[in-house]
């Protein structure tokens, strides 16, 4: 194994422990093809035992393939199967030659009883050994698996009959599983390479890391010139180490000097925290250039390449800086500033900085750089005060002025502003505008406005604008028709205030100019116009824009005015001129969609086609596609393609909208459940708080019917009732509510004077007893009583009619 291959192999092994499932599965699939050692098998076995069904399946598949390879290398045959046939993953993935027909027949005869667990392995088998007869089963199963386990079915169908896969591509391309999407793109690439590239662009443009990784995995199969710009665009913003590693691998697998130059352009202008990783990519690329013998080893080292780059690319690079600087983030701007200061001694760089000082968008940063640069020069200039005769000296004097020194040199500066070379006059007018913008100096500016040279006119116009912009109204035609873009931009600004239609026309001319700086200035002005007046113009310009920074500016203007109508229009844009721009447009679509949803701008973003109508449409096109496939030249109208990027995009958006609705419904349900819980808990707490009083109340009611010693009062004979009862008939046995004669034992007398008698198993309390003092405890007595009440404890209360002791 070569050194490169070894490091790639180690990288695959390290990817097995990634927290991104698609990266793990991708590594497993690749290891299945190249691995040949027990250690790898051991690592894969651990993955095969995980609870994740997809990872487990692919790991098992890989183990079987690797072990089969290892066995054949050792001239061993795999363990012979038992005579009695049973279907297993091992047999399906690595069948013996003698078993193939047996397994095939078994599968065909038992299609309906194949378990879901075995189905993917069956697909792997049929992909290698099946034929057209198996296609219906594969198609049926393709629709039932929604996870990465659908991959073997895609492989199988593609091998057996790719035409039968086409109707299912839209669903597969819209899958929420990145690996499924990427696999579908690979299948599409054979039918329609342009459309496949558009899908790849969408995948790489995703904000989700796993989708990017899936895209990088298949980017190898596309022409490198088409994907390079996308990769470089990703590298400028990416921070995920796995994505950076994927991009690096792709670049060094296609070592190219042009790539190295483009990387250098990016490195110097990117933010500090990202430039280190890009430097590493650059160094690795240099090694690859030497290894692939694209350059001789002495010329493939980084220093040599940088020197060449500087020579060839400097002017182009400086133009790029001028466009990027106004819209760079603060940290990126700082990097650019530091680079300019470091290289200010190069004449071309100094010229650029002076040009930047004339552009309102960049004059602050340019002046800061010039101040740093002229620190030393300032001292030298004031040392040779007498010799300001040459244009260079005059210019340097003006550049070195500050507020205090201006007062000393004012007369001379005014003289320069009225008569001097173009460069000196322009600088002098700027200095007066900066240090003494007063009405008394207005005549200097008005005089300069009559000049032809744009630099002088521009300085004068800025001066007038600062004093009173209405002074510029008479000059609007001159400004708008100027060849200088800054003058036209200023003219637009003033004209918009006073004549909008003319301003729009000028803006259109700037926007479609062949000069990039002019276009960049136009976009900045468009942001201030009412969007509905410039949107169509902007979209047309975007479609033909080939510079990614300018395209980004246009997209910012568009995204700042989100609407459903704009999304529809953006969907129809296809920028084929530059793949980096295509990537930016794809990202902007996704961002715009997310913005529309988050702002609630439109609740019905897309109409959901039913599965039936989709498949019906795709089946109608199947015959047409089949004819074209035979000639390997599909030229169907884009709008008729079921797998077109527009259809797939709508499917993905539909799914996202549904997911958001479901998430909201679940959230609402959870909220209500939480409320119910609170109500129930509150109820329980209240009940618990009140329960002691309830229980006490119940106990209290029971006590009213019980007699205790404390309730017994002092004995008193109730003589009033002594002869109240005159029974007419006496029962011989105890009978409630009737006079009866019984014999019982005297027990005691209560404090209330009730006599307690024990009779059989009963206790009888007698009231109205007259001869109490004659009774002895346990003495047997004969009584005539009228029992009329039963206590809760079972005791009887009776009126005593007669009592006789023996």
């Amino acid at each position: 194994m070569t050194k490169n291959n070894q490091s790639e192999y180690q990288e695959l092994l390290s990817q097995l422990s990634s927290n991104k499932k698609s990266a793990v599965i991708s590594a497993i699939v690749q290891l299945a093809k190249v691995a040949n050692d027990e250690d790898t098998v051991y690592k894969l076995r651990k993955l095969a035992e995980t609870a994740d069904r997809e990872v487990s399946f692919f790991a098992t598949q890989a183990i079987i393939k690797i072990e089969s390879r290892m066995h054949s290398q050792k001239n061993e045959t795999p363990e012979s199967q038992s005579i009695q046939f049973t279907l297993s993953v091992t047999k399906l993935i690595a069948p013996l030659k003698s078993e193939i027909d047996v397994i095939k027949n078994f599968i065909r005869n038992n299609r309906t009883s194949i378990s879901e667990d075995l189905a993917p392995a069956v697909a792997v088998f049929l992909g290698k050994h099946g034929d057209k007869e198996d296609i219906p089963w594969l198609v049926e199963k393709l629709n039932s698996f929604k996870s990465n386990l659908v991959l073997p079915f895609i492989d199988a169908l593609e091998n057996l009959s790719s035409i039968d896969l086409v109707p299912h591509l839209p669903n597969l391309l819209a899958s929420e599983y990145p690996l499924v999407r990427s696999r579908a793109i690979m299948a599409l690439r054979k039918i329609d390479p342009d459309e496949a590239l558009a899908h790849l662009s969408e995948l790489l443009a995703s904000r989700k890391v796993e989708e990017k990784l899936a895209g990088l995995g298949i980017a190898f199969f596309f022409p490198f010139e088409q994907v390079r710009e996308m990769i470089l665009s990703i590298l400028q913003e990416e921070t995920d180490p796995e994505v950076i590693r994927g991009c690096t691998t792709l670049l060094i697998s296609n070592p190219d000097l042009e790539t190295a130059y483009k990387l250098l352009s990016i490195i110097d202008t990117t933010e500090k925290n990202k430039s280190n990783s890009l430097v590493n990519v650059f160094k690795t690329l240099c090694s690859a250039l030497a290894a692939a013998k694209v350059l001789p080893p002495d010329k493939a080292n980084p220093d040599s390449i940088i020197a060449n780059w500087k020579r060839e690319r400097l002017s182009k690079f400086l133009n790029e800086l001028e466009i990027q600087l106004p819209v760079a983030s603060p940290s990126k701007r700082e990097s650019i500033e530091n680079w300019l200061i470091k290289n200010i001694n190069i004449p071309e760089v100094l010229a650029l900085v002076e040009k930047l000082a004339q552009n309102p968008n960049t004059e602050e940063i340019a002046k800061k750089i010039l101040q740093e640069y002229s620190q030393q020069k300032r001292l030298a200039i004031f040392a040779k005060v007498q010799s300001v005769n040459t244009e260079e000296d005059q210019y340097n004097l003006i550049q070195a002025l500050d507020e205090n020194s201006f007062k000393s040199w004012k007369d001379l500066i005014i003289k320069f502003a009225t008569s001097g070379s173009v460069r000196v006059r322009s600088a002098a007018i700027n200095a007066i505008a900066k240090f003494e913008p007063s009405f008394e100096n207005l005549s200097i500016a008005e005089l300069a406005m009559k000049e032809d040279h744009p630099a002088i006119v521009y300085s004068a116009a800025k001066f007038l604008e600062k004093i009173d912009s209405q002074k510029l109204i008479p000059y609007i035609p001159k400004l708008l028709s100027s060849i200088d873009c800054r003058l036209r931009a200023l003219g637009i600004k003033i004209a918009r205030k006073y004549d909008e239609n003319k301003a729009l026309q000028s803006l259109k001319e700037m926007l479609f100019s062949s000069d990039r700086v002019t276009r960049a200035n136009a976009v900045a002005n468009m942001l201030l116009f009412p969007f509905e007046k410039v949107s169509d113009m902007l979209l047309k310009a975007l479609e033909r824009e080939d510079h990614s920074s300018i395209a980004r500016q246009m997209l910012v203007v568009l995204l700042s005015n989100p609407s459903k109508e704009l999304l529809d229009k953006l969907d129809r844009i296809h920028a084929r001129s530059n793949y980096a721009v295509s990537l930016l447009i794809a990202q902007a679509r996704m961002d715009l969609f997310d913005l529309i949803i988050s702002l609630g701008l439109d609740e019905n973003l897309t109409k959901i086609e039913t599965e039936k109508t989709k498949i019906e449409k795709s089946h109608k096109k199947k015959d047409e596609i089949k004819q074209n496939l035979d000639s390997a030249n599909l030229s169907a109208n884009e709008t008729e393609k079921p797998y077109s990027i527009e259809n797939v995009r709508n499917a993905i958006r539909n799914r996202q909208v549904e997911n958001i609705k479901q998430a909201k419904a679940i959230e609402k349900k959870a909220f209500l459940e939480e409320w119910y819980k609170h109500i129930v808990i509150s109820f329980i707490i209240i009940m618990l708080a009140l329960s002691p009083s309830i229980i006490l109340d119940v106990i209290e009611r029971g006590r009213r019917y019980a007699i205790s010693a404390s309730d017994i009062k002092q004995f008193k004979i109730d003589k009033e009732n002594e002869f109240a009862i005159e029974p007419k008939f006496v029962q011989e046995q105890f009978t409630m509510n009737e006079v009866c004669k019984i014999k019982g034992k005297f027990k005691e007398i209560s404090q209330e004077g009730l006599v307690k008698l024990a009779y059989a198993t009963m206790t009888i309390w007698l009231e109205n007893v007259s001869s109490v003092p004659c009774l002895i405890p346990n003495e047997e007595v004969e009584v005539e009583i009228l029992p009329y009440h039963v206590y809760t404890n079972g005791d009887i209360l009776a009126k005593c009619i007669k009592i006789n002791n023996k």
């Binding site: 819209v327 976009v523 468009m526 009412p530 989100p562």
Partner: protein, 118 residues
């Protein structure tokens, strides 16, 4: 349906903290302009800090009114302006529109206050 846009203004002399909320279009810009300039009260106020943390998007008309507001504050009241907590999109749009010439950008209000000197 879009959520209603609104604005809260807090006086913390010498700062005025302006907190717009929602989609920043011309209506919100005009509302803020009204709140600031209909009955202007900039006594003891030297700095105005805009907190864009609850503004996902500033559209073209919104930027135009923002430029008018900032221009008015700087030219007529000699007030320094800070912008903070912009979304990435708003930050890019402000840079393109040249708002950096009128206001200084910060990541949060404390940083703005530290910069302005308190």
């Amino acid at each position: 349906m879009t959520k209603p846009a609104d604005c809260v203004i807090e006086r913390e002399p010498p700062y005025l903290i302006v907190r717009p909320k929602g989609y920043f279009a011309d209506q919100l810009g005009l509302k803020i302009s009204g709140m600031l300039f209909e009955k202007p009260d900039f006594r003891d106020i030297k700095y105005v800090i805009f907190d864009f943390s609850q503004v996902p998007v500033v559209n073209s008309q919104g930027i135009a009114t923002l430029i008018d507001i900032c221009g008015n504050l700087v030219d007529n009241y000699n007030i320094s302006i800070g912008f903070c907590k912009m979304s990435n999109l708003a930050s890019e749009a402000f840079q393109i529109a040249g708002l950096e010439q009128l206001a200084t950008f910060f990541s949060n209000i404390d940083e703005a206050k530290a910069y302005f000197g308190m």
